[in-house]
């Protein structure tokens, strides 16, 4: 048994020496960890905001202003998610010899720590991977995206907190430049090829600074070439995002087409009407009757959970005016039903914070012309500061709740 252990240790040492790099070191890991930690925390918080907006709990304060708030938070969510891919790869590369450390397990506590790191690494890789691929509306995995992406995010930030708690002395010791080995909690069994302060750190050429510059450049390139789908100022650099601003019918991209929703026939039917109900009262509106009501214009962004967004000019009837036709109070919650029968897009709840807002419309026009079929013809909801999935298209019924 002893011989086997010695042999295995020698093997692992040789493997570690083979993959050793003078660039690796705790200072490098701490710097990359800071960058990645910041990206993950921003990504988590903006993702949490998006999640809560889609299922707002009773205590949540809904913010219709500024109208671009969700556009910003979701654009940042996707950009930091994409930007964290190079950071994650670099961070994991910097600690790779830790994987080959021998003996693999020193105690129960050590085993638990390694298990938590394996969970953190695997979850992070899957999370950024499926997040990126989800923006292409491609789902090649055998589980529901939203559930897994959301709960894995909790697992990741929590394992990150645990990781920071465990590594705090090392992080503190290498927070600033310069060797500080006194606080090193694990001097025994120096990991293979993992010097605390490698000789190569200050040597000219491919040193720590050069590697960090390359990682920063790769991160910048990844963000710069994709964030143009969300931020107009970067639209000129948008070469690798799945969406491009200013494209599509009426110069606006579409997340879900009428054909995909299965409403192409019903939405174009001549007998289309909108029904508004409140308790026992009910009003029915033809398109002509809706157009005869006072029309209002709102400049609102459409901001998709998948990250793309764009400003547009919407014109139609204020939701509060429609609620008034059935005698409902202005600050009522409403349930908006689409011609689309099934799935996430079939209906949405419009909380009072939005239904009473002056900018919230049942839009009939976009950028000066009647809505294109793919943008929700004959009528769609447009409210400020909400995810696109809740801006229900092809509306057939508004049910005032309460």
């Amino acid at each position: 048994m002893d011989r086997l252990t010695t042999k295995l240790q020698a093997r692992m040492d040789a493997l570690g020496a083979a993959s050793a790099s003078p660039l690796r070191g705790r200072r490098l890991t701490v710097i990359l960890g800071r960058w990645l930690g910041a990206a993950f925390v921003i990504c988590f918080l903006t993702g949490l905001y998006s999640h809560l907006l889609q299922q707002p709990p009773a205590w949540m304060v809904l913010l219709p202003r500024p109208v671009w708030l969700y556009r910003l938070t979701q654009g940042v969510h996707v950009a930091t998610g994409i930007g964290s891919i190079p950071l994650l790869l670099a961070k994991l590369w910097s600690v790779f010899p830790e994987l080959l450390r021998w003996p693999p397990i020193r105690s129960v506590l050590h085993a638990l720590e390694r298990a938590s790191i394996a969970l953190l690494v695997a979850s992070s890789l899957v999370e950024v991977g499926i997040g990126l691929v989800n923006t292409f509306e491609w789902y090649p995995w055998p589980f529901p995206f939203k559930t897994v992406h959301y709960w894995l995010a909790w697992v990741i930030v929590s394992s990150l907190a645990l990781h920071v708690a465990i590594k705090l002395p090392v992080i503190a010791a290498h927070w600033r430049r310069g060797p500080a080995e006194s606080a090193d909690p694990a001097p025994a069994g120096r990991p293979n090829g993992m010097p605390a302060e490698p000789a190569g750190a200050a040597s000219p050429g491919w040193n720590r600074r050069a590697l960090l510059a390359a990682v920063a450049a790769a991160t910048g390139a990844a963000v710069l070439t994709t964030a143009g789908q969300s931020f107009g100022g970067l639209a000129g650099f948008n070469v690798f995002a799945p969406r491009r601003q200013g494209t599509g019918p009426q110069r606006l991209p579409v997340t879900r087409t009428a054909a995909e929703a299965g409403v192409a026939t019903t939405a174009l039917a001549t007998g289309w009407t909108l029904t508004v109900t409140y308790r026992q009262r009910q009003e029915t509106f033809s398109l002509a009757r809706l157009r005869a009501l006072p029309q209002h214009t709102s400049e609102l962004p459409i901001a998709c959970v998948e990250g793309w967004s764009q400003d547009a000019l919407w014109r139609g009837v204020r939701i509060r005016d429609l609620l008034a036709t059935v005698g409902a109070p202005a600050d009522s919650d409403a349930r908006v039903h689409s011609l689309e029968q099934h799935g996430n897009y079939a209906a949405s709840t419009l909380p009072a914070a939005y239904s009473r807002d002056d900018l919230t419309l049942l839009a009939l026009e976009l950028n000066g012309a009647p809505l294109d079929l793919d943008h929700g013809y004959p009528a769609r909801v447009m409210a400020p500061g909400r995810p696109g999935v809740l801006q229900t298209k092809w509306v057939r019924r508004i049910e005032v709740l309460g």
Partner: protein
Amino acid sequence: MRATRSPRTTTAARLALGLLGTVGIGYGLWELVTHLPADQLAGLIAWLGVALLLHDGVLVPLTTVAGRGLKRITHGLGALQQAIIRGALVCGCVMTLIVAPLLGARAVLQPEGPASAVNRTILQGAYGASLLLMWLGLALAAAAGVAAVGLHGRRKVTKTRP
């Protein structure tokens, strides 16, 4: 984080953070287990395992092999020139890794080309050509950098000679 903080405060902060993290991990895992039916959960576990294997067993060893090969190829160059080439390769490879799923998505979702898509507002870019252009730009920039360093070095050598 600062050294001026008392060890007791640091220990308390570490314990609190560690406890919070442990509870959070339990919460996230519990919700995953309760929200997903067994087959989806098995799928997720498989994805997590394969991600670890691909990263630790393929990607990182590949970078090691590539790094060694590069060292041999760029043997005659100066340290700064080698750094320029490595930096360009890091950028190019990372970008390729990010763009690859985009090309994969298009191959799967729009097998007859972007024009055949149900939704003509997604995956319509010339991603493959852009990626090639990006590599070309990187190669040119790196070559210019290497040449500039070489010239600068030679001029310095000439100047120091009497």
